[in-house]
Amino acid sequence: MDFSYSEEQQLLQNSVSKFIQQDYDFDRRCKIVNSDIGFSQENWQLFAELGWLMVPFKVEDGGLGGFAVDLMVVMEEFGRGLVVEPFLACAVLSGGLIADGASEAQKRELLGLLIEGQLQLAFAFAEPQSRYNLADITTTAVLDGDSYILNGHKAVVLNGGAADKLLVSVRTSGAQQDCDGITLLLVDTNTAGLHRHEYATVDGHRAAEIKFNNVKVPIANRVGGEGTALPVIGKAIDRATLALCAEAVGAMEKIYKKTVEYTKTREQFGVAIGKFQALQHRMVDMFTEYEQARSVLLMAALKMDANKGVAPKAVSAAKSRIGKAARLIGQEAIQLHGGIGVTEELDVGHFFKRLTTVQYIFGSTDFHTLRFAGH
């Protein structure tokens, strides 16, 4: 057993950490969030240059190794900085699908561009009625000659507005919630009949509603076999879930420490409020939640690496525990900051927003608790 970072991991962490501290302060982030596309192309290029976009991928795919622990290192730092560049949606989630499910030719075509920062991808899986059931798919693709014809509505597609290409989970056979009959298609976002409605999400990211009205997709754009995409999708979502957990752990470390520091300076009734024992014990609870959350994250990352990328139960444990911690730490940070905590002005509120949405992305805390329990 060994809990120390390798030299490479240490270098990676230092590199991302330096970027967050020097180039990603709260003001800059606000400007980026409020910009037209909602993230910085310049930063994205920097991520590519510094090799961070290689992190999710195996060496043979042009990546750094694709270890979950490496991914955790990057995402924890991104969490500390509340990074909005679409690393999770594009590189981890969509990239993961391609790395895992695509043919060698497709990989060659797409992964190189992605790793160079030249290709934005998004994965359109959720639908208005599907909630967290990845198999609940009503978007249909019917084979017509050497093309599929797509019809349907994909909901809250993360990075869906900026994406050059979409990976779309479609139903090619079976009933609405069947596990079989799900296929993955790669769709150019400028294809006729594809409509996007992009909007901001409450945490400063971007998403889109995407509707397909007889959209024609060449059969060559199918990723993997017909009707057998669900396991690949599940694995990619699990991996992205782990990455999201790491981001949350980074964010909650930041926010609990900020809260502790704030209470040392903020005075009420003539005393720093950090001297009030009731608040002290609550901050100890925040600290404890953070430590437990980080432990479960480590556990899941190590299990995933030990099990060649498949560790659904460990991922659900992490998502459940981290969701619980994110809730408590977020709510307490706001409550202990008082009025200033609920304003847009202070960074703490923005950490709170992200710590709220991470509780619901890729399955809520309850969902993952019951999934862990085997229900």
Binding site: R131, V156, Q177, V342, S364
Partner: protein, 399 residues
């Protein structure tokens, strides 16, 4: 001991239902049920309808135009309003400054201010909190220095809810110098907002709402005649008011209605093979909050019953604030759970009146995260829940 309504009370309930059925405007009803913030015009329109009915002031004595309702009638009113989707009245005039005026104001002040409040001709806001003062209200720094028949007011107030619409503000100001003991230096002033020395700057809260403001006073001259009661007694008046206000704050009727809406939504939400309402983990959480709300409803009724026998609501009524906000915030979380991904979209346009674009997400659900974020303030404002616990600890438990 019984919980039955008398035949008079049943008749009153019918009258209320009929009134709401006939007079509540459809657009206001829809926005209220969808939990979309109303604009000023809607609030004023609805309050004028209430005024015409004679039901604007449910907490005023009849001599000033109040309804003189019993606690049970108020209970019926609150429940029916929540059920029909009638919005709460803006409390600053009717529920906050008016009781101070009719209890401590001069005859002249009563005649000057109360009718316009009743008829919703004037929009009031509250100037208690100050930047950096938090829940420590007594430490306020806004000064009112007497010069002849006027006070010259300087300083800042904050968390002034809907102050952007206000014609008047009621303020706690410091009229005594540092030699006077803190609370005895505080007076209660009414100030017109159209004074050039007043600026209002918005504070945007996490849910993206512009509800609260900072109000700055730069040499604002206020006639001494606008002071309520005696100089140096402002803190006493405000405190009485604060206890008075604690009951409405439980918002039981609203939470009941929201739970009911939530059940409908959850029953329409697919979760695996069944509806979310049938998911036992969700059902259990829902049941727990529903039961806790039942308890709170009876805790409030017990408090009201005690008040109606002549007792002032004691410090134990602080639990109404604590539990009321905790329950409301927990309901927010159940909305988010129900919304899933659709809690996240933050599409400001679609909350503007007259929006006719394509709505993202299904109705009330689609703003559940912003609403959750915005509602975190309820356990902070109005005396934070920590302050409420200090009050109970000291005044109820004697610790």
């Amino acid at each position: 001991m019984n919980i039955d309504f008398s035949s008079e009370e049943l008749a009153f309930q019918q009258e209320v239902q009929q009134f709401l059925q006939e007079k509540l405007p459809a657009d206001i009803r829809e926005r209220t049920l969808k939990e979309i913030p109303l604009d000023k015009e809607s609030f004023v329109r609805w309050q004028k309808i209430l005024y015409e009915q004679g039901w604007a002031a449910t907490n005023w004595p009849m001599e000033y135009g109040g309804t003189g309702w019993t606690p049970t009638q108020k209970y019926i009113w609150a429940n029916e309003c929540a059920n029909f989707g009638a919005p709460d009245v803006i409390p600053f005039g009717l529920k906050m400054v008016a009781p101070v005026i009719f209890t401590y104001g001069s005859e002249e002040q009563k005649q000057r201010f109360l009718p316009d409040i009743l008829a919703s001709n004037v929009w009031w806001c509250q100037g208690y909190s100050e930047p950096n003062a938090g829940s420590d209200l007594a430490s306020l720094k806004t000064t009112a220095v007497r010069e002849g028949d006027e006070y010259v007011v300087n300083g800042s107030k904050t968390w002034t809810t809907l102050g952007q619409y206000a014609d008047w503000i009621f303020c706690l100001v410091r009229t005594g110098g540092p030699e006077i003991k803190n609370q005895a230096a505080i007076s209660f002033l009414l100030i017109e907002m159209n004074h050039p020395g007043i600026t209002v700057s918005p504070i945007i809260t996490l849910g993206g709402h512009h509800e609260v403001n900072e109000v700055h006073f730069d040499n604002v001259r206020v006639p001494v005649a606008n002071r309520i009661g005696e100089e140096g007694q402002g803190w006493t008046y405000a405190k009485v008011l604060l206890t008075h206000e604690r009951t409405g704050i439980a918002r039981v009727a609203t939470s009941k209605k929201r739970l009911q809406t939530l059940k409908t939504l959850a029953s329409e939400t697919c979760d695996g093979g069944a509806s979310l309402l049938e998911n036992p983990a969700f059902a259990q959480r829902l049941a727990e909050v529903e039961i806790d709300l039942l308890g709170l409803e009876f805790t409030e009724l017990r408090t009201l019953a005690a008040v109606s026998t002549g007792k002032a609501p004691g410090p134990e009524s602080s639990i109404l604030k604590i539990k009321g906000t905790e329950i409301a915030q927990f309901i927010d979380e159940l909305y988010m759970e129900t919304a899933g991904y659709y809690g996240m979209p933050f599409v400001r346009e679609q909350f503007k009146s007259g929006f006719d674009g394509e709505w993202v997400g299904p109705g009330v659900i689609s703003s559940s995260v912003p609403r959750y974020l915005n509602n975190r303030k309820s356990s902070i404002y109005g005396g934070s829940n920590e302050i409420q616990k200090n009050i109970i600890s000291k005044w109820v438990l004697g610790l």
